[in-house]
């Protein structure tokens, strides 16, 4: 396994990238991005089998990842860049005209590492199931990963997909819910309660793994590795991963306020004081 200390340093740099990217264009979604840093670093640096230098759309014999809650594009772009999918300097084009780093991820501008457009919520699980079925047809044993927001689970299509994956034993997907309990209008519990999410997915026929420590890198890695042991066992796999929206920046935590707002100059300065530049800023 990669050196955990080095990965923690990378996580810090990814957090810097996120706040700097959204600050530069006064828009974007820092909250959920900051909460999912450990997940992305774990996935791309430790868990997934993939080759950033040889990206193909088909990804034959590679593990695949689909970001269903596309609004947390800053963390996705930062980790893709810092893994070598495209130059780190390109992060400065985020949300600007003529950029490959659109507000929400897309294949349309040909950004390496992205295999589907997302942003309109609820669609990524279906796409992942399709890719997983293609892998089975191709006798390709690699795994398909997805990430979803918890608020996103209010979309009906998620449950169509969840029903299908269990009924047809799509057991080569590992989905994760970013269970931070917050969405644009407030706490998920108050906007539209998800009820007992673990019981819901289990009732749909999934293997459900709970990770209460979604911002602990070693915990995220160990839970993803545990999920891998269930691949090929006849059930789709779901990790319910508790995270803190805004993790790492004191004033962004404990609130839904930073779901989709960018820091101003003073707020950026305050944030950067809390997150050390461990790799070079773009």
């Amino acid at each position: 396994m990669a050196n955990i200390e080095a990965l923690k340093k990378l996580s810090t740099q990814v957090r810097r990238d996120i706040v700097r990217m959204v600050h530069a264009v006064s828009s974007g979604h820092p909250g959920g991005s900051l909460g999912c840093v450990e997940y992305f670093v774990a996935l791309y640096k430790v868990v997934m089998k993939h080759d950033p230098k040889a990206f193909t759309m088909d990804g034959k014999n590679d593990d695949l990842f689909f970001l269903s809650n596309g609004h947390i594009s800053p963390v996705f772009y930062s980790v893709l860049a810092r893994c070598g999918y495209f130059p780190v300097e390109e992060l400065k084009t985020f949300r600007k005209l003529n950029s490959r780093l659109q507000g929400h991820p897309t294949t349309h501008e040909g950004l390496p590492g992205v295999r589907i457009a997302s942003g309109s919520l609820g669609q990524g699980m279906s796409v992942a199931i399709g890719a997983a079925l293609a892998k089975k047809l191709n006798k390709d044993n690699s795994i398909v990963y997805t990430l979803h927001g918890d608020g996103e689970l209010q979309e009906g299509q998620i449950w169509e997909a969840a029903m299908y994956a269990a009924a047809y034993k799509v057991d080569n997907i590992i989905c994760t819910v970013d269970y931070n309990g917050r969405q644009i209008d407030g706490d998920v519990e108050n906007v539209l309660s998800l009820g007992n999410l673990k019981a819901k997915f289990e009732a749909f026929g999934w293997t459900v793994i709970e990770n209460p420590k979604g911002n602990d890198l070693e915990s995220v890695i160990s839970h993803l590795e545990k999920a891998k042991t269930f691949v090929g066992k006849g059930k789709p796999i779901m990790i319910l991963m508790n995270t803190e929206m805004g993790m790492g920046i004191d004033y962004m935590m404990g609130t839904h306020k930073w779901h989709g707002s960018a820091p101003n100059d003073d707020q950026l300065a305050k944030a950067l004081l809390q997150i050390e530049e461990t790799e070079k800023d773009y």
């Binding site: 759309m57 088909d58 990804g59 034959k60 695949l64 897309t106 294949t107 349309h108 295999r115 589907i116 457009a117 997302s118 942003g119 309109s120 609820g122 669609q123 990524g124 699980m125 279906s126 796409v127 992942a128 199931i129 399709g130 890719a131 997983a132 079925l133 293609a134 892998k135 047809l137 191709n138 390709d140 009906g156 299509q157 169509e160 997909a161 029903m163 299908y164 009924a167 047809y168």
Partner: protein, 318 residues
């Protein structure tokens, strides 16, 4: 007026089923998905012969579109099958984001389009699907006219790399085009050369246009009849060439006037060669229950309606 004959009436959806079945044998990358309408879509033969490449999705069309998009990522060529209403309006955002904007090689195959679905009524008779789909950037939109052409179109779209909307219908209608026709996406088919008027028709209205052409010939009117099976990309060269000769046009389709084939033709002509045009189409109305023939008459989509439109448009020529 050239004579068209047919030996049997067949449904266009069976042409789709036959084409898909043939693709199953010839192209191992072709996979099929259906949302609980396998029999209605005539996908049973493919399902029986290639069970490993057939995906029964259940009544969950949004999920079907997403799964189809995902299957392309492993190099598959997915053909989705359900009614036109559930293939478009119900899943418009899924098609827009996961298929069209993502540039996925999905073939959206839609049966029971239009009024000729019949007795089930307006909930199922979508008349807006061509408009919805042609507005999506780079979406190819095809509406073949009979069994043979639908079969040929089904086979042809597998060889095209990109999203396609293929629209066909429920009723049996004359099967008059040749069984061994070459189907070229975006290429109009000249059915009858004429000099007084151009009739541009698509789908089930093509046979109605032929009937109208015969009635017009009896009245001494020479109609040029063009079968536009591909609404997007539109064969504007063929249209312009004909209009330069006839100087007026009637478009005919089983669709709303807003957003259909006639709209596409009018947009092209207004920008390039303004020409008197009449529209045979549903005029801002929902359908209702009835037999296909009754509905086509009531909503003005019969051959007599084409004849009337021709007489009107000829009177508008300067």
């Amino acid at each position: 007026m050239k004579k068209y004959t047919f030996t049997e009436k067949k449904d266009t959806r069976s042409g789709f089923g036959a084409g898909l079945s043939e693709l199953g044998k010839t192209n191992p990358n072709v996979v099929a998905l259906c949302a609980d309408l396998t029999g209605s879509l005539k996908m049973d033969a493919f399902q029986k012969d290639h069970p490993e490449r057939f995906f029964q999705i259940g009544i969950a069309e949004a999920n079907m579109m997403g799964i189809a998009a995902g299957l392309t990522i492993g190099g598959k060529i997915p053909f989705t099958g359900t009614f036109a209403n559930f293939s478009t309006g119900r899943v418009y955002d899924q098609i827009r984001q996961s298929i069209a904007y993502s540039g996925k090689n999905v073939k959206i195959c839609a049966s029971h389009a239009g009024l000729t679905l019949g007795e089930d009524g307006a909930t199922h008779q979508i008349l807006e699907d061509i408009g919805l789909m042609k507005m999506l950037p780079h979406m190819v939109v095809i509406n073949p006219c009979d069994y043979n052409q639908t079969k040929a179109a089904t086979i042809a779209i597998a060889a095209y790399d990109g999203p396609v909307y293929l629209r066909f219908g429920r009723p049996t209608i004359p099967n008059f085009t040749s069984a061994d026709q070459k189907f070229e996406i975006g290429k109009a088919v000249m059915l009858n050369e004429g000099t007084d008027v151009t009739i541009i028709a698509t789908g089930h209205l093509v046979w109605k246009a032929i009937e109208a052409g015969e009635a017009l010939a009896a009245k001494g009117i020479s109609a040029e009849i063009i079968n536009i099976h591909t609404i997007k990309p539109l064969d504007t060269d063929a249209i312009l060439k004909s209009i330069l000769k006839t100087k007026c046009v009637v478009t005919a389709e089983e669709h709303q006037m807003n957003g259909g084939l006639g709209d596409s033709v009018a947009q092209f002509l207004s920008r390039n060669h303004p020409t008197p045009q009449e529209f045979v189409a549903v005029n801002d109305s929902f359908g209702e229950s009835g037999t296909p023939d009754e509905l086509m008459k009531k909503y003005g989509l019969d051959s007599v309606d084409i004849v009337k439109a021709v007489e009107k448009v000829i009177s508008r020529k300067k």
